[in-house]
């Protein structure tokens, strides 16, 4: 993709995100439903697909020796940090960008293409992932309504726009999908399917780390859909603010009312 359409798209996304913007004093932990019935059905479909495909694959992955899992997880995380870097810059978080770039440089070289993580030992601490949905949130875009996508899972209007934006600012996507880059790099190995292998491995790695916890959440929720929604929105809110909700930001009005009863 040439630079002009890319820039145009980013501008378009930015304008679109600003259309969603409300005063954005503080990130919200709730969101209206876009189409709840559809989303509930999609979640059921996703969970059935998970039982049939993703969970068994994740269990197989977990059976691999720890060093292999750890190495592949590090490798994926290192590649993923490129998207975080783009978003660090877009958010104006130069300190974060420097940290991400430093980690990538160290882990790609000393850490042998990211298989090992010497950067952490050198004091470059691992930070949470950044994506374009978070960037839109930092810029002031409102959450928008909530819905569930087939396979991709829970999202909001803003984060769905962010997903599209990710594609255009993710260097891994650009390198694997851009024939001009192939020529620049000088080989034909950076083909599109490698991008999907990278994304698939990332998903399997995540699922393998959460086998018991997701099972427990399913077994102990009285409304699994509502639990997933709440967890998703809380997680996004804390990622955008880059701080947990635990302490000062917690809305205590309900508690205060209970205390005064």
């Amino acid at each position: 993709m040439s630079q002009k359409p890319l820039k145009t798209l980013i501008y378009a996304i930015t304008i679109l995100s600003l259309c969603f913007t409300s005063s954005m004093a503080e990130e919200k932990y709730t969101a209206n439903e876009c189409f709840e019935k559809f989303s509930r059905g999609t979640l059921k479909f996703n969970m059935a697909l998970d039982r049939a495909v993703f969970k068994p694959v994740a269990k197989g992955y977990r059976a691999l020796p720890v060093p292999i899992r750890k190495g592949s997880s590090n490798f994926i995380e290192n590649l993923r940090s490129l998207l975080s870097f783009s978003n660090n810059v877009l958010q104006g978080d130069l300190k974060g960008a420097a940290n991400t770039a430093g980690r990538f440089a160290v882990n790609t070289t000393v850490g042998i293409l990211g298989v090992f993580d010497p950067a952490t030992k050198m004091g470059l601490t691992k930070r949470s992932r950044e994506d374009f949905g978070q960037t839109l949130g930092v810029w002031g875009a409102d959450t928008g309504c909530y819905f569930v996508l087939p396979i991709l899972g829970p999202t909001t209007a803003r984060d769905a726009v962010g997903m599209v934006g990710n594609v255009f600012i993710d260097p891994v996507y650009q390198v694997t999908h851009n024939t001009e880059t192939d020529m620049l790099v000088g080989n034909d190995n950076l083909q599109e399917h490698n991008y999907y292998i990278y994304k698939g491995t990332d998903a399997v790695d995540f699922r393998s780390k959460n086998i018991e916890s997701i099972e427990s959440l399913q077994n102990n929720s009285i409304d699994f859909y509502a639990s997933v929604k709440s967890l998703y929105l809380q997680n996004r809110a804390q990622k955008i603010s880059n701080s947990p909700i635990s302490n000062k930001k917690q809305d205590d009005s309900d508690w205060e009312e209970i205390d005064n009863q």
Partner: protein, 200 residues
């Protein structure tokens, strides 16, 4: 949502685990949480049956968790609309649900390794105790913050667990709100759902 789900498991486990033989807990929030964690380990590592473990954990939960307060918090604004009779029924039903919910999660676990790291006094009512569930071959480490209610400094009570930044109490509140909203805001529908869960 990387560690979110992992966190959920563990959270409950610590929260309520404890040795029922121990009667009094420290008034210092950090020590209070450490004591609960240590007692939880004893119970979960014991040779007791799952039912016995659940019973012991329930006793501890009733001593260390503000079950009634959490119940009203998770009910949201609906608590203002219900009659005294419904309130009474809700309290009893919620307690049963709460104990069933956490014991069924916790009794699947044994030998959890949790380090209490520090405590931060937010205000006179709350202290956040920070802890870490150490990583295993199966999952990464998980940050767990305990929201301890300290209005009565002599008797701290747990009001929430925040796992990797996600509040359990808030999640439960959203679940309850969803059930109410899909049943014409009828408290009886919520009570029935809670009872069904408790009798599983």
């Amino acid at each position: 949502m990387k560690r979110i789900f992992s966190s959920f498991l563990v959270v409950f486990f610590i929260c309520f685990s404890t040795n029922s033989l121990v009667a009094a807990y420290s008034s210092d929030p950090e020590k209070f949480i450490s004591e609960i964690i240590n007692e939880a380990k004893l119970i979960l590592n014991s040779q007791d049956t799952k039912e016995m473990k659940a019973e012991k954990l329930s006793i501890i939960a009733l001593k260390t968790v503000d079950v009634k307060g959490i119940g009203y918090y998770t009910l949201g604004k609906k608590r203002k609309e219900i009659t005294p009779d419904q309130k009474q029924r809700y309290e009893a039903t919620f307690e049963k649900y709460f104990l069933k919910s956490f014991t069924s999660r916790l009794t699947d676990y044994s030998d959890p390794k949790i380090s209490v790291l520090s405590a931060e006094r937010v205000n006179e009512k709350y202290t956040i105790v920070k802890s870490m569930l150490l990583k295993t071959d199966k999952r990464p480490e998980v940050k767990i913050d305990w929201r301890v209610y300290t209005k009565n400094p002599e008797k701290p009570l747990i009001r929430d667990l925040i796992i990797e930044g996600l509040s359990l109490a808030r999640t439960q509140k959203e679940e309850f709100a969803s059930i109410l909203s899909s049943n014409n805001n009828d408290i009886n529908a919520l009570l029935q759902t809670l009872e069904e869960f408790s009798n599983r």
